[in-house]
């Protein structure tokens, strides 16, 4: 696995753990804990998506010339995930268990299939196109920073 794939896939796994923690608290009716865990998860998701949109995708697009390729699809899915993250926050604030479960179930599938496409296809493309600058690009990422 390339450097970029390793870093980003590793962060996927961290986000999965944070999501699971929020989901467990929510299913137990621990609203305050669920909100706290979700806030942490939401932050890391924004860091991850921001890193891709601000650092990795532009570097890939300028190197390969693929402006309307896979990165466009990924950006679109990021927007969908942001909408769901907002809906989940609203459901948590309203302590609406039904709505919360629905939106979290939706985000789970969207996020996982999005991550699969990145891990199975896109990150390998990024590593292939950007291998000369991988170290510099990874240093610019905000992954894991609070």
């Amino acid at each position: 696995m390339g450097e970029i794939a390793s870093a980003m896939a590793g962060h996927h796994a961290q986000c999965d753990d944070l999501f699971a923690a929020a989901l467990i608290q929510a299913s137990q009716g621990s609203w305050d804990n669920a909100a706290s865990e979700f806030k942490h998860f939401h932050h890391e998701m924004e860091v991850h998506m921001g890193d891709e949109e601000a650092v990795l995708f532009p570097a890939f697009e300028s190197t390969t010339g693929m402006q309307a390729g896979p990165t466009t699809v990924m950006r679109l899915e990021h927007d969908r995930m942001r909408t769901l993250l907002t809906q989940i926050e609203l459901a948590l604030t309203a302590r609406d268990a039904e709505r919360l479960d629905g939106y979290m179930s939706t985000l789970l599938i969207l996020m996982r299939q999005h991550n699969l496409k990145e891990e199975n296809v896109l990150y390998a493309m990024l590593d292939a196109a950007l291998h000369d600058h991988a170290g510099e690009l990874i240093a610019q990422l905000g992954l894991g920073r609070k």
């Binding site: 699971a20 989901l23 467990i24 299913s27 137990q28 390729g69 896979p70 699809v73 679109l76 927007d79 969908r80 909408t83 809906q87 039904e98 709505r99 479960d101 629905g102 939106y103 179930s105 939706t106 789970l108 599938i109 969207l110 996982r112 299939q113 699969l116 496409k117 891990e119 199975n120 296809v121 896109l122 390998a124 493309m125």
Partner: protein, 431 residues
């Protein structure tokens, strides 16, 4: 070339997915009408028709639709021109499967030839276009090897089916019983089980929040299964189904049992507390898979079981209804709502955020239907001990499949209503 666009047009996969349950209804009604006669031997017309309504009808429709939907996620590529392909293949497979069941049930030779042509052409086209996508992709992924093996398995099953049709029409290249068993082994093992496993490697962790499968499982399972089914083919041709055949099939069955036990263990370690219909149906499928495997090996330990007339239909019911209908049923309850949601969340479709996936099919309806499906499975098995149960068992199975079908149509109705409401709102805002 990698094709990373959105999932295929909704109607491409949905025409297959929404058709599948109604073959189950037909199978249930046929079983109810045939009564205990369908259980006396797997060679009776009604048993053959029933088997193919479930395999070439229910399972094939659902699996073709699922593969169309799943390939972009698992491999980063989609089947060439999915909407055109679906428009051509779906009616061909629909009529082909119906004609096949009817011809086997009525022994009309002309119909068998017609079904042979339709299914040969439809499946040939599907296998070719799927194979191009699966074998040319540079993508990696846990499901890729299994999907490639499954499509190869479908191609082999199709060829064996065509040879069998020729044999029944009076042009056998090998003994019909041996050819039938080989066709069944490749169909259930090489195509259906391999596809179920391949899709499971991705969607079990995705849908059910389990840990991922151990890395050696997606790597070794397709190889072990391919080798065992290849050996079975050789055994059937060279040794006419003696101990090499039994050994080869036993290896394939062990692979299936291992997969089921590993999946059950992953489900036990899942991070989600709530049990939904998909989880229950999938867990039921895995438990039934182990049970079917135990039935296969039972004759080794008991000569009475080896000669029992109920053994073969028991394995058939466990595999077709208990394993594949259960697993497909569960997956449809995730795939259909999610794809509806995905399409509605496109900016071009809607400026309003769509409802969550849980709003497309009421949870009560899914859980109720799942319970009815389990009851139907139990009744079908009970028929082996008490044959007069056959008519009610068939009716309950038919109702269960019809309920599944209407639940899925209900999801589509929610989709259409939301789309229309959004279009009306957009029109109002523009005027």
């Amino acid at each position: 070339m990698l094709s990373f666009e959105q999932a295929p047009p909704i109607s491409a996969s949905f025409r297959f997915l929404l058709t599948a349950p109604w073959f189950g209804v037909a199978a249930g009604l046929l079983f109810a009408w045939s009564g205990p006669a369908a259980l006396t031997s797997r060679w009776t017309p009604s048993a053959l028709a029933l088997t193919h309504l479930l395999t070439t009808g229910f399972m094939l429709q659902a699996m073709c639709g699922a593969l169309l939907q799943f390939m972009p996620v698992a491999t980063g590529t989609s089947i060439w021109s999915p909407l055109l392909l679906a428009s051509l293949i779906h009616p061909v497979l629909l009529v082909g499967a119906t004609t096949l069941a009817f011809s086997l049930g009525t022994a009309l030779p002309g119909l068998l030839t017609a079904s042979e042509l339709l299914l040969g052409a439809g499946l040939g086209a599907f296998c070719a276009t799927s194979a191009i996508g699966l074998f040319r992709t540079p993508a990696t992924g846990v499901s890729l090897l299994a999907l490639r093996t499954a499509v190869a398995g479908l191609a082999v099953t199709t060829v064996l089916g065509l040879l069998l049709a020729h044999a029944i029409s009076g042009h056998p290249i090998m003994a019909v019983p041996a050819l039938t068993d080989l066709h069944a082994a490749w169909g259930l093992g090489g195509w259906a089980f391999m596809l179920l496993a391949g899709v499971s490697f991705t969607v079990v962790p995705m849908f059910q929040m389990t840990p991922r499968y151990p890395p050696w499982v997606p790597r070794l399972l397709p190889i072990a299964l391919g080798v065992s089914l290849g050996a079975a083919a050789l055994a059937a041709i060279e040794w006419q189904q003696t101990w090499p055949w039994i050994l080869a099939i036993s290896l394939a069955v062990l692979c299936a049992i291992a997969f089921a036990l590993i999946t059950l263990q992953l489900q036990h370690r899942r991070r989600r507390v709530r049990t939904d219909a998909t989880f229950s149906l999938f867990r039921g499928a895995m438990i039934t898979l182990v049970a079917a495997g135990v039935c296969w090996f039972a004759p080794l330990f008991s000569p009475d079981v080896a000669s029992a007339s109920w053994l073969s239909p028991c394995i058939g019911i466990l595999c077709l209804v208990g394993v594949f209908v259960s697993a497909i049923n569960g997956m449809l309850y995730k795939i259909v709502p999610f794809v509806c949601w995905l399409k509605l969340s496109l900016p071009s479709y809607s400026s309003i955020a769509p409802p969550s996936i849980k709003m497309f099919i009421p949870e009560r309806a899914m859980i109720g239907q799942a319970r009815l499906h389990f009851l139907a499975t139990a009744l079908l098995l009970a028929c082996l001990v008490f044959p007069p149960l056959a008519p009610p068992a068939g009716i309950v199975f038919a109702i269960s499949c019809a309920w599944l079908g209407t639940n899925l149509l209900g999801a589509c109705r929610v989709y259409v209503n939301f789309k229309d409401r959004n279009r009306a709102d957009a029109g109002d805002r523009g005027s």
